[in-house]
């Protein structure tokens, strides 16, 4: 609740205590009904993941069946770990690369803007609009040609490119909030570019950097199209595990729910932690 209201406290009406409760309990009931309906599939997924297979596949459903952790232990016995490690590598390393590339770029677009910096920014943004499917074939052919199929670094490079535009956009709007006076003072004192970046810009921009990192992490963790087509055995990521899990084992509903919950958990936690920043990343910086 301290989320979106915080940085726009002067202009909005959320601080306004009068009148907001018109309509009263009926609308509260409606709001909670809609919330329940939307959350139900997630709740059902999590609940079923703690059930036995026999209790998971009943009709009518048996939500109050006894709970067990056996589905999760079965997943780890079956070796979900390498997939999770691959996903973690692809998303964490690509996120670090994105930040390394995006922060100087955002600096050149906001703190010390180049001429026509809006054009540069819209170029970055426009690359995000190109559908990935249009690039899949040449990327597949190039990757195959250089012998990089089923290599986690292929995904790292692609995810870096995929998230760079969003990161540049988000970082630009965060860096634009760094007060000019501080930068000028630091420069008058003769501090070099790297020192200004590290000692002055970094502390102020840190929350923005964290939010950008979370968004990039979410997108690369969930990516499926490149992962399923460019990896096989060694570097398959969590979504590829999920799909293969169905085709190779037949259907185990409770275990499927456990697997789906497990692979969704990192993003759920990251997204909930950064929910106020989520909208800025998703709208490519257009909405704060």
């Amino acid at each position: 609740m301290t989320t979106t209201t915080n940085h726009k406290k002067r202009r909005t009406r959320n601080g306004d205590p009068s009148g907001d409760l018109r309509g009263g309990p009926i609308w509260t009931f409606v709001a909670w009904t809609v919330t329940t309906i939307f959350f139900l599939p997630v709740a059902w997924m999590v609940l079923t993941s703690f059930h036995n297979e026999a209790d998971a596949a009943t009709n009518p459903p048996s939500p109050f069946a006894s709970l067990t952790l056996s589905q999760y232990s079965a997943l780890f016995d079956r070796g979900v770990q390498p997939y999770l490690i691959n996903s973690a590598m692809a998303s964490v390393i690509s996120t670090l690369l994105v930040l390394t590339l995006a922060i100087p770029t955002a600096y050149a677009l906001s703190v010390k803007p180049v001429e026509k910096w809006t054009d540069v920014m819209f170029f970055f943004l426009s690359t995000k609009f190109l559908p990935a499917i249009g690039a899949l074939l040449p990327i597949y052919l190039i990757v195959k040609y250089v012998g990089m199929l089923d290599n986690i670094w292929t995904l790292i490079v692609l995810y870096t490119a995929m998230n760079l535009p969003i990161a540049v956009w988000m970082m630009r709007s965060f860096l634009a909030e760094v007060p000019r006076e501080i930068l000028e003072a630091a420069e008058v004192d003769g501090a070099g570019l790297l020192r200004v970046l590290w000692n002055v810009v970094r502390p102020i921009a840190m929350p923005g950097i964290a939010a950008t990192a979370l968004i990039c992490f979410i997108f690369s963790w969930n990516e499926f199209l490149f992962a399923v087509n460019l990896t096989a055995v060694r570097s398959a990521t969590a979504p590829v595990f999920l799909v293969g899990f169905i085709t190779s084992e037949g259907l185990f509903l409770a275990r499927l729910c456990a697997a789906a919950t497990l692979v969704s958990l990192p993003v759920l936690i990251a997204g909930w932690a950064a929910q106020d920043k989520l909208v800025r990343g998703l709208s490519m910086g257009a909405v704060k």
């Binding site: 959350f39 249009g134 969590a238 759920l268």
Partner: protein
């Protein structure tokens, strides 16, 4: 935030001082990202365009060569491709329209204070955060399954309350497109809701207060003040949503594999099939080019909307 005026003064004075060496020093921090982006995102598209004019199927190794516009002719005349275009439009339009409408409703509900509002918002964005492949699998097996899926389970449970036997509807076979759209709407509504909620909360409070003092009803306030203010946020959410939903691959791949027949084959999935099942590289590339051009048309409007919001932010 600096104002636009300050920015301009800043820029002009600096430009007056700057010689070209100075300007290049400013550009240096940009170059790694710029070069990386051009190499990884623009070059593949050049390759796609080249392949789209070629006759290339790895199952017929001898016949590789220049094909002129042949692949494009195939793309525009092929039954499957035409079905894929129609399916893509139906899937994208219905998902975006429905999720914008529901998202708007929820945003309005969440814009007023009520007990547990923060928790409700947290729960409501969960569908967007669940891994799309996981969401598709859960919808297919845990919700849609005719025997033990939750939807039939709830219907059966209600029917049993009245001493009847519930239906066993096979949702995916009966209404495949609806099955996919419902799953996509569930995933994308939180996204629309977040953007529209941000729009609602950016309304100037004094104007709404003035309307209230002047005796406007809440319906009038919504119709004549809130909706016009929200218009650009609605446009933005619809356009961004279109660009993302247009690329839907996970849900089709997982729930229906494009079937039955071509009933739910959208362009990304059809291109994928052309590439990795038929190995018609030239045709797949041509279809890719067509999709890119289609997206650019949508994206041009999106960029215009973003830049108008963006200019407002800079001058705010």
């Amino acid at each position: 935030m600096t104002t636009q005026a300050e920015e301009r003064i800043d820029e002009t004075t600096q430009m007056a001082q700057a010689r070209s060496g100075h300007r290049w020093r400013r550009r240096v921090p940009l170059l790694p990202a710029l070069i990386f982006t051009i190499v990884v995102t623009q070059l593949p598209f050049v390759v796609t365009i080249v392949i789209s004019f070629m006759n290339w199927n790895i199952l017929r190794p001898g016949s590789t060569g220049f094909a002129g516009l042949h692949n494009y002719a195939t793309v525009f005349t092929d039954e499957r491709m035409r079905a894929a275009v129609v399916n893509t439009i139906v899937m994208t339009a219905s998902t975006v329209i429905v999720s914008v409408l529901i998202g708007l409703g929820i945003a309005v509900l969440l814009d007023r204070k009520f007990p547990g509002r923060g928790l409700a918002r947290t729960l409501l964005i969960a569908p967007f955060l669940v891994m799309p492949v996981a969401a598709a699998l859960i919808w297919k097996h845990a919700l849609y399954n005719p025997d033990y899926g939750l939807f039939n389970g709830i219907l059966n449970w209600i029917a049993q309350l009245f001493g009847m036997q519930g239906p066993t509807v096979d949702w995916i076979s009966n209404t495949p497109m609806l099955a996919i759209v419902a799953c996509l709407v569930w995933q994308w509504t939180p996204f629309m809701m977040l953007i529209l909620l941000a729009g609602l909360q950016s309304q100037p409070g004094d104007i709404l207060e003035a309307a209230r003092v002047d005796g406007a009803t809440s319906m009038q306030t919504f119709r004549f003040l809130t909706l016009p203010h929200l218009r650009r946020y609605i446009e933005l959410s619809a356009l961004l949503g279109s660009i993302y939903v247009l690329q839907t691959f996970d849900a089709v791949f997982t729930i229906t594999q494009g079937g039955p027949g071509t009933a739910t084959t959208n362009l990304p999935y059809e291109i994928y099939l052309t590439m990795f099942r038929k190995y018609e590289y030239g045709e797949a590339a041509a279809a890719g080019v067509v999709v890119v051009i289609g997206t650019i048309l949508v994206a041009t409007f999106a960029l215009r909307t973003i830049s108008s919001l963006f200019r407002e932010e800079v001058s705010a």
